[in-house]
Symmetry: C2
Subunit: 373 residues, 2 copies
């Protein structure tokens, strides 16, 4: 049993609420007290259907609106690095809230809770129905991911006309996400003493063509819904070697392909096979070690376009892979949007700009209240 | 204190003597009992000046002959792999003596002891003076090598007109040895998330040129004193990689250059720098981690030519590096010649062909007795 946290005050302003969340440590795997507090606060509002799934907390309005928006945020953080409790500092006139999880992504969770406090009470009249998904274990291996668990066990909870993942984006809408494919290329050789190298086949030399292909690769830029996705094909690891006087009989190159969401996983793999066709024909083998589909931004969908308009800043493409892909897999337009700064995530000096918090809350309120719905 | 071994019987035939040596375990670092036995046997002959230097035993005739031959053999073996005591087996009509050290190189030591027994007694009349060097710790790191210690502390003992290292050569004279140079090429890069690869510089891709150079390298063949040395330039290790989603900021390629003895160490390094000139100009750095000079065969020297004639089989070049280089450093022609089979050294199934033993003894006796001296 974990000690209960103090009650969350959802009527407090978004900065105060962010600090409450940040000062409630919830490193991946230890989210229970915070999930309990979130669940209690949401149930206390009186206008939401609430369900608990492990340490994920699901809540939604049920007002039979024409459109439904799903807001998702993870409750966990990376390990605390002597950067709690939170503190406010003024740096060159910029007010910052420092602490583990400020940026990634308890400021986003706080915005969600503020929305819940406004639209999840009896008598509230949002223009759109809203679903809230607070989940656990985002910062660890995918198999433990709470949103994945919800997708498997409570799939219906994730349906909507638009999903917004409150990951840090510096207050800009980042549409969809790119996919990622990891393959290991294995170059075979034959050992021999390096003093009699003609008796062997040097596998490291055999990787010359692969590295040449990678060095010369021209990555594609693709425009989808007005956003530019920029692909990349990179060796992320190479290894080979037996001893200082032996020709290596194996050289392995791990290649990571980040692909735009107009390719699916199969097409991405086909492309990689085509790029390395010469090597594969020469006896190199390819093994897929990791593959995750990207997510189309769906910005042409009215619900998504309206949200971009509410934010009032140009959207851009999300290049890294995020949990939005779990929504995209159900055909739901999926965006990343949060007040945190993505460059500060997982840093000891993590902070969020305080002047980013209220605009995020305001944009979402405008959107959920909006007459276009 | 180690238990003393039974006395060595230098009057026994070379096979019996080989078995006596093989059945006296002497893994590197534990040569003392065997060195004691060798020293006692040599002192007992009565016609040799004998000196002990650690676990190396030095002995020589002093008959004021015009030429002096130095015979050198190490007493140590690689670790025993359940392959002692020795045993004789007949395989398809070929008689073999199996056991740790049979090939590398106690059969060679036995030949040396037989020579000592013949020429190291009062009244013997060899045509050449003979020096015997039995030494320790050849199978381990160079800094412990007993021959190196003798070269530093008793340099005068190594001088002669010809040095013969009794390493396994299958009864063929192998002249000199090639040098070996090991360098680490470090390719710099800049880390970046693989989803935003244009923000970084991929060090593994930067190694493409190095591997291309290696793959396309045409190794030189050089004839020296009628022997053909075949060089080789090989990557023996490559490594780079930070994480599955990060562009590597460093890639290191370890390259081993085996060079013919017409190049010295400086020239070998100059050549390697020239081969990788483009990479070095582009910011790759080169660090020498290991360098050992080769040894010229000196077969044009009369003392060496006479020995090749006594063996009666064509000589060939020694391609691996051996301790003959320690003699060559003093300008002494240096050959490898031993009854063992180099391909069986360090194998669990190590053996020596019994029919190789007596011819080796006979060739050396003919040479040392010879009228050409």
């Amino acid at each position: 049993m974990s000690d209960p946290l103090p009650e969350l005050d959802l009527t407090a302003d978004v900065l105060t609420l962010t600090r409450q969340l940040v000062d409630a440590p919830s490193v991946s795997g230890s989210e229970e007290p915070l999930a309990d507090a979130v669940e209690a606060a949401l149930r206390g509002l009186g206008g939401l259907e609430v369900e608990r799934v492990g340490n994920a907390v699901l809540a939604r309005t049920d007002l039979d609106r024409d459109t439904r928006i799903v807001l998702a945020g993870h409750l966990d953080t990376v390990p605390i690095a002597d950067n709690l409790p939170s503190r406010i500092e003024d740096v060159d006139g910029e007010e910052r809230l420092y602490g583990c999880g400020t940026s990634d992504m308890k400021s986003g969770d706080a915005v969600m809770l503020r929305l819940a406090a406004r639209f999840g009470v009896p008598g509230a009249q949002p223009a759109r129905d809203v679903t809230f998904v607070f989940y656990d274990n985002e910062e660890v291996e995918a198999v433990r991911n709470g949103l994945g668990r919800v997708a498997r066990e409570r799939r219906g909870w994730l349906y909507g006309d638009l999903a917004i993942l409150m990951e840090p984006t510096d207050g800009v809408v980042e549409g969809g996400c790119q996919g990622t494919l990891r393959v290991v290329l294995t170059v075979p050789g034959k050992r021999a003493h390096s003093a009699r190298s003609w008796l062997g086949v040097n596998a490291v030399h055999g990787a010359a063509g692969i590295l040449g292909t990678l060095a010369g690769y021209r990555a594609r830029e693709v425009e989808i819904d007005g956003l530019t996705y920029r692909e990349g094909l990179n060796a992320v690891r190479i290894e080979g070697g037996v001893a200082g006087n032996v020709l290596p009989d194996v050289c392995q190159v791990t290649v990571n392909f980040r692909f735009a969401p107009d390719r699916d996983e199969d097409q991405a793999l086909d492309h990689v096979r085509e790029v390395f066709a010469d090597a594969l024909a020469a006896g190199v083998t390819l093994e897929v070690t990791d593959s995750s589909a990207g997510a189309l931004p769906g910005l042409a969908e009215p619900a998504a376009a309206a949200f971009v308009a509410a934010v009032g800043r140009p959207a851009r493409a999300k290049l890294g892979w995020t949990d939005v892909a779990r929504f995209a897999a159900f055909g739901i337009p999926a965006l990343n949007y949060g007040p945190g700064d993505p460059n500060l995530a997982h840093q000891v000096g993590e902070y969020t700009r305080i002047d980013r918090l209220q605009p995020a809350e305001d944009a979402l309120i405008a959107y959920v209240s909006g007459s276009d719905a």
